[in-house]
């Protein structure tokens, strides 16, 4: 089935199966920043934005993206790079496998929450798991990135 989408601000047409999930379609079309971690909707690695909202692309049928705006980390490169520097600076990145999903969630949070507290940040990032670092370094990095005291 053919669906028209806007991906990273460019119109595109995807040919998808009715039971294909967005993470698989995006990877098939070359958006390899999308990682499949748990593939059960638990880890946040596959996070992309659908109409500017962070979603788990492993758990949304590709057909649901019809007519919508998809944003992957390739579409917010400069912002992502800036955010990544904070993660690196705090030693909050080791294997890096979870980083694209985490950064997409952090950038979504930056847009959505005004003056978040530490508690707000922890709550917003609850759905992003990291097996390497623990979360203390990530939290330090995110607080510095967002200018939270």
């Amino acid at each position: 089935m053919k669906i028209s989408v806007t991906i990273n601000n460019k119109p595109a047409e995807f040919d998808v199966m009715p039971d294909e999930y967005l993470a698989d379609s995006l990877r098939r079309y070359g958006y390899l920043s999308i990682r499949k971690g748990c593939d059960t909707g638990s880890c946040g690695l596959c996070t992309v934005w659908l109409d500017d909202k962070p979603i788990l692309s492993c758990s949304v049928l590709s057909m649901r993206a019809m007519g919508k705006q998809i944003t992957t980390i390739e579409g917010v490169k400069e912002e992502a790079k800036e955010c990544a520097q904070y993660l690196v600076g705090e030693g909050a990145e080791q294997c890096g496998f979870c980083s694209p999903g985490l950064i997409m969630t952090i950038l979504a949070m930056k847009r959505e929450l005004v003056n978040p507290t530490e508690q707000d940040i922890v709550h917003y990032l609850n759905g992003n798991l990291c097996r390497c670092t623990g979360y203390v370094g990530q939290l330090r990095a995110v607080k510095k990135y967002l200018g939270v005291e």
Partner: protein
């Protein structure tokens, strides 16, 4: 793994209903996140996205939540954040992560009558009805008991009676499924005590509710109500917790919720 042969985006509820009833394997989609964890062979997946069911509306008497409203909408909606002490927002805010809450829908959760649901437990403590396309309005407790096969849930309607309410749950970690959840509400002398994720679906503890409604609400009677609730409902064992553990913590959660309502 699920399989889907065909995908439809009906323009009307009647069209969706007819399609649903055309073939046994046809299925209405919610967010699709939980569905994918199963192994259902779906003929036609029916997507309700075009039916404008994604709004939360408030009138003088009711709050209406459309079937395609996501948990994130419930969590962040300014009306629901205040209504009945915000128990609906409270109930959904720890469900996995914000990304999943942007996907999971009210309609799929309620229609599927999931036992693990935090949202259903909170809804049941309020004066809630569901609107089904063919069957019409149904009280939530009746719907949870009987279901409504091959129908489509259009919206959830909550009567703004002015209940005070509280929601409590126990989880192993913040984004995990609840081991047990409890909602308690009060409207004058009418109390409702609900226990869910037992792991069976949420149910009203009628004896405990009745006891509270006629009690003097001292510390002793609150404890007694919690004990009654833990004895009158059945609990089960699954990977999250044993029947005995659930029964034990139900007493503490009910007591805490009652005290929150009284505060």
């Amino acid at each position: 793994m699920i399989t889907i042969k065909d995908y439809a985006l009906p323009d009307t509820l009647e069209e969706a209903y007819n399609l649903l009833n055309k073939k046994r394997s046809n299925t209405v989609l919610g967010g699709g996140a939980f569905l994918r964890l199963g192994s259902k062979k779906i003929g036609t997946a029916i997507d309700l996205s075009k039916l404008m069911l994604d709004a939360i509306e408030e009138t003088d008497e009711f709050i209406e939540i459309g079937a395609m409203v996501t948990f994130r909408q419930v969590e962040t909606d300014p009306v629901l954040k205040k209504f009945a002490n915000g128990i609906l927002s409270q109930a959904v805010k720890n469900i996995v992560g914000v990304q999943l809450r942007n996907i999971a829908t009210v309609g799929a959760t309620v229609y599927s009558r999931y036992g693990f649901s935090d949202f259903i437990t909170a809804l049941l403590a309020l004066d809630t009805k569901v609107l089904l396309h063919k069957r019409g309005l149904m009280r939530l407790d009746e719907f949870l008991a009987d279901g409504a096969k091959n129908d489509i849930l259009v919206k959830v309607i909550i009567n703004k009676t002015g209940r005070k309410a509280a929601f409590n749950m126990m989880r192993n970690s913040q984004s995990d499924y609840a081991i047990l959840n409890v909602a308690v509400s009060r409207l004058a002398d009418d109390w409702k005590v609900i226990i869910g994720a037992r792991p069976h679906r949420a149910a009203i503890a009628y004896e405990a509710s009745k006891y509270l409604s006629g009690s003097d609400l001292t510390g002793e009677s609150v404890q007694q109500a919690a004990t009654i609730a833990s004895k009158e409902l059945s609990f089960g064992t699954n990977i999250k917790g044993s029947r005995e553990y659930r029964r034990k913590i139900s007493t503490a959660l009910v007591k805490r919720a009652v005290l929150e309502v009284l505060a």
